[in-house]
Symmetry: C2
Subunit: 356 residues, 2 copies
Amino acid sequence: MTNSRCRAAKTFSAVPLVGVPLVGVPLAGVLLALFLAAGAAAQDDPLPSWNNGQTKQALLDFVQTTTAAGSQHFVPEAERIAVFDQDGTLWVEQPLYTQVVFAIDRVKQLAPQHPQWKTQEPFRSLLTQGEDALADFSIQDFEKVIAETHSGATVEEFHQVVKDWLATARHPRYHRPYTELVYQPMLEVMQLLRKHGFKTYIVTGGGQEFVRVYAEAVYGVPPEQVIGSAAATRFELRADGQPALIKLPKTLLVDDGPGKPEGINLVIGRRPVAAFGNSTGDREMLQWTQAGRPAHRPGRLMMLVHHDDAQREYDYGPDSKVGPFPDSLLELARRSGWNVISVKRDWRRVFSWQTP
Amino acid sequence: MTNSRCRAAKTFSAVPLVGVPLVGVPLAGVLLALFLAAGAAAQDDPLPSWNNGQTKQALLDFVQTTTAAGSQHFVPEAERIAVFDQDGTLWVEQPLYTQVVFAIDRVKQLAPQHPQWKTQEPFRSLLTQGEDALADFSIQDFEKVIAETHSGATVEEFHQVVKDWLATARHPRYHRPYTELVYQPMLEVMQLLRKHGFKTYIVTGGGQEFVRVYAEAVYGVPPEQVIGSAAATRFELRADGQPALIKLPKTLLVDDGPGKPEGINLVIGRRPVAAFGNSTGDREMLQWTQAGRPAHRPGRLMMLVHHDDAQREYDYGPDSKVGPFPDSLLELARRSGWNVISVKRDWRRVFSWQTP
């Protein structure tokens, strides 16, 4: 059965039969008519990968209430800004952030040009133990690895390195390119919002230049709508007279936690009306979104993805090193009226290639 | 005579009469028809405040060549990015940058709360000598004044201070609000580009939050398309539980000279196809714009405003402390094929309220 036929079958029971005269019509014709009607209904659903329920309804209500002419909470099109965390909100972040896997691979790839890494920590551990070394890594160790693997090249050269890596790297569990591990339900949310005049921004703790490489193709988000942790660059005229922007081993913006509203203000200069995240690093972004002008508050939407589906994806939360979702965040969400998305309950399918 | 009638009269001679049967038609009717036709022609001119000539033609050719379907140098709409310096390119920067005038006024306004300024440099000099003190200012002096007058408040509070100041401040020569001292010809260029799918960005050495206050109303440029020198901010939860972004006395981005392409990459992540400036601080932005992919080069536009009209505006260049345009820049422009806009020759009027 194809996905679209599955969808049609599932929404079948929701098709209203009121007013359809059935007497005297051949059975095959009735079935065909019902099937077509069900198909049409499924096509009209802007969120087909979501199960019906409170969360899906909250999404639909938000779009209606902020965009319908004459609505009390109408938001002018220019102010329709929606922000999305990436890791754990738009794509899989387990068992390791994708960009960390990239950095480890990059250390291995660059090792022949850096013989000193054989004895220099944290590179020595990474080269001998691989991912296992990460358990003992300090923030400073991470910074060293990012500095060495993400700087020195021009911005364009760095883009090409990331592009080449994405073409061959595969996720250890799903054995697919990382760019196929995006959450289909969230893509549908982005599309629904854009269809209603929203600008969708990615606001990620990950590297801005890393995410820009695939954000347009994968999420439909152009480079100017990707806000991420950013390194400083240096403009220079090269020997051939051509200018270049060199990535420096110097952090300009840590776009995580409080850095998210700071980055949003720097790049957008407007307060979002919708914000989506999945962990403590997104807390301040949701608080900032919610605390807009009082008159607008009912027209704001704050959502957190809760990963509770070990079968189709991962089940993690309070104790995870990657994308922690502690009870205090759950409690804050409850107190603040934020919506918590349950992967298990709310998503009919997680990935586009999964049968619902 | 109103401006629009002036325009009609000027373009009158350009109206083709071929095919219009004049015999037997009453003279008044002919004149009326000609007048209406002339009016229509003027309305069709997207750059009515520009004199016909090479520069205007270069603007029109650029738009045609980058946006006409099938053109060899066609630029997809998503990549149509045009960047504009502000001071001296979009509005008057003489005799002092507007934001410097604001900072001086702000020092005077805040002085009662800072009694120590009476003896502390550079504030003492500013308070006793006003603008005259600037002649002896070092970069560090400026930084101190900006740090004290542009930080401490929330972003919204700072916006309000700027708004209040703009409402009452007047330019010493024109006796008008600074926001009325924008160059009408450049507004027409921005409008023409936007009409053809370009996104117009301001890329200014001035303060990003300062310019955002009026950019939308004055230039039609929304806050997310204003890139400027930026201070770091700090997110904090206030006593009432409301989050706030506090402006810090710490520079994040100096958006001038090489900082312009760096800022463009940070915020846009695409290379512009058109760049407008007027001084050495814009050189790298124009170089960066020009050095895009070789195949695109003929579809790039680089322009520098040259202030050579003391009568209607100002005549300054090599020796100006504000917005210098040295001979070396003129030479670079010539060598690189950049267009130099002569205020005197190219602009029919400088301001919207001037009769051409």
